[in-house]
């Protein structure tokens, strides 16, 4: 398959103007390679057991993580291989081709989110727009929506860290509406991961969807769905209407503010726990978060989703790798990104193409 060059154009945008220290609470890129080959092997087993390579996106979408989450798995797969190349490349090939294919089927117009994350087709959007119970936006309500996204997004960063974020946060669009407006759909699924956190820290709502329509704001979604980029008018000035649904129920503006307060406090509480964790516990948490994103797929296969003993042994009392990826370096071009993060190596050694 020749997907990797298209993929790297988009993935590079995640890293351009970014330094590794910006990802918290762990130096993930020097952590994943310690055990990712075992994870690849486990995913490959599930793909084979469920015969997923022959199934299209719509047949299995209910058990898959959001598209941005699959993109993030791909970048981790590529960088982990680069940092710790293994002899058995078949698992990396099978898994990466599997997720790349699902992305081309789920978002055919922009599979790797170069500028958009178009999960819905025109007929789905037309149907949705008719169903949404809109409220008219003004500056004050638009600011409340922005604050709500900030609170939910930060809560997601707490429960899933900076690299599994997209399991709890994806954004779809931008979709052009006939009214000359642009629709964005912010989706926050999986906000109650009971297998990762005690009940007291979880959101009272499992799924939150925020619909918002704008005029005069040019939106792009870059590589993963939480990376919404706007140009033109401020989103607060440009928002014309909105609707927020919590587990399918429409919220009014007061309920939205209450939800913001709840999740802002819980985001802080969770992150305070993370800050206090010793290094061994933190490594185990990140390992578990990574496995959790494919829980439904593993459940379907009847295979335990939890990290295996072999994965845990790979990290126990082990330091992170050092100096594979540069710290403090701002990546400026796609070519630089491809060299530093091993895109070219993966293309040649795993996918077998030039």
């Amino acid at each position: 398959m020749t997907w990797i060059k298209e993929f790297s154009k988009s993935a590079a945008s995640l890293f351009k103007g970014q330094v590794l220290e910006g990802f918290q609470p762990l130096d993930f890129y020097h952590f994943y390679p310690l055990w990712y080959d075992v994870w690849m092997s486990n995913i490959a087993k599930v793909i084979k057991k469920l015969n997923l390579a022959t199934k299209n996106f719509n047949e299995i979408r209910e058990i898959l993580p959001p598209p941005s989450n699959m993109r993030a798995i791909l970048i981790k797969t590529i960088t982990a291989y680069y940092a710790n190349p293994v002899v058995n490349k078949q698992n990396y090939e099978l898994v990466s081709n599997f997720f790349a294919r699902l992305l081309t089927e789920s978002c055919p117009d922009d599979p790797f989110a170069l500028t958009s994350n178009p999960l819905h087709d025109n007929s789905e959007i037309a149907y949705l727009v008719k169903q949404i119970e809109w409220s008219k936006a003004d500056t004050q309500s638009a600011r409340i929506i922005g604050q709500c996204i900030t609170a939910i997004g930060s809560f997601v960063h707490g429960i899933y860290n900076d690299l599994v974020t997209d399991f709890g946060w994806d954004a779809y669009g931008p979709y052009a509406l006939p009214s000359n407006q642009t629709l964005l759909i912010r989706s926050f699924p999986n906000l109650q991961p009971r297998e990762l956190w005690p009940e007291i820290y979880l959101s009272s709502i499992n799924n939150i969807t925020i619909y918002s329509a704008y005029e005069g704001v040019d939106w792009a979604i870059s590589f993963v769905g939480c990376h919404t980029i706007s140009k033109g008018r401020s989103p607060v000035q440009g928002m014309k209407k909105f609707a927020v649904y919590a587990d399918g129920k429409l919220l009014d503006i007061n309920q939205i503010s209450m939800l913001t307060d709840e999740l802002a406090v819980k985001a802080a509480d969770i992150y305070k726990i993370i800050h206090k964790m010793d290094f061994e516990k933190l490594k185990l948490l990140v390992l578990k978060q990574e496995c959790y994103q494919l829980k439904k797929v593993f459940d379907k296969a009847g295979i335990n989703w939890l990290p295996t003993g072999e994965m845990a042994a790979r990290i126990e009392n082990k330091p992170l790798l050092k100096n594979v990826f540069p710290h403090g370096k701002l990546i400026k071009t796609t070519a630089e990104f491809e060299n530093i993060f091993g895109i070219n190596t993966f293309q040649k050694e795993v996918l077998g193409s030039n």
Binding site: G17, T150, S154, T228, P235, L263
Partner: protein
């Protein structure tokens, strides 16, 4: 013409004048005043309550896809990341202008 104090990456557009408030992970957000400019190494989820009160955010590290950048854009407030030295160069109470489009911090005192 006011002096450019710091240059970083403009991560969320807009111009705002305000007062610097240095903020660290785990600090008590109830002490953060509405409209202050949040200056930190990098934001994290312990700072959310302060972030939603901030008129702008300035950080030492990060890029356009970092936590402060993404959320500033959602709230429509200016944000400058990767200034490298904001937490050292700026002190509580200093009046500054944040230019989130061009990534510049101006001294107004």
């Amino acid at each position: 013409m006011k002096k450019v104090l710091l240059t970083g990456i403009g991560a969320s557009p807009g111009n705002i004048v305000g007062v610097v408030r240095l903020f660290h992970s785990g600090d008590d957000p109830s002490s953060f005043k509405d409209g202050d400019i949040l200056v930190t190494t990098i934001t994290d989820p312990t700072m959310v309550t302060a972030m939603v009160k901030a008129s702008a955010i300035v950080t030492d590290i990060g890029g356009i896809t970092s936590h402060p950048a993404i959320l500033s854009r959602e709230m429509g407030i200016p944000c400058v990341v990767n200034t490298k030295t904001a937490t050292k160069a700026l002190k509580d109470g200093r009046r500054i202008r944040v230019d989130g489009k061009n990534g510049k911090i101006y001294d107004l005192d």
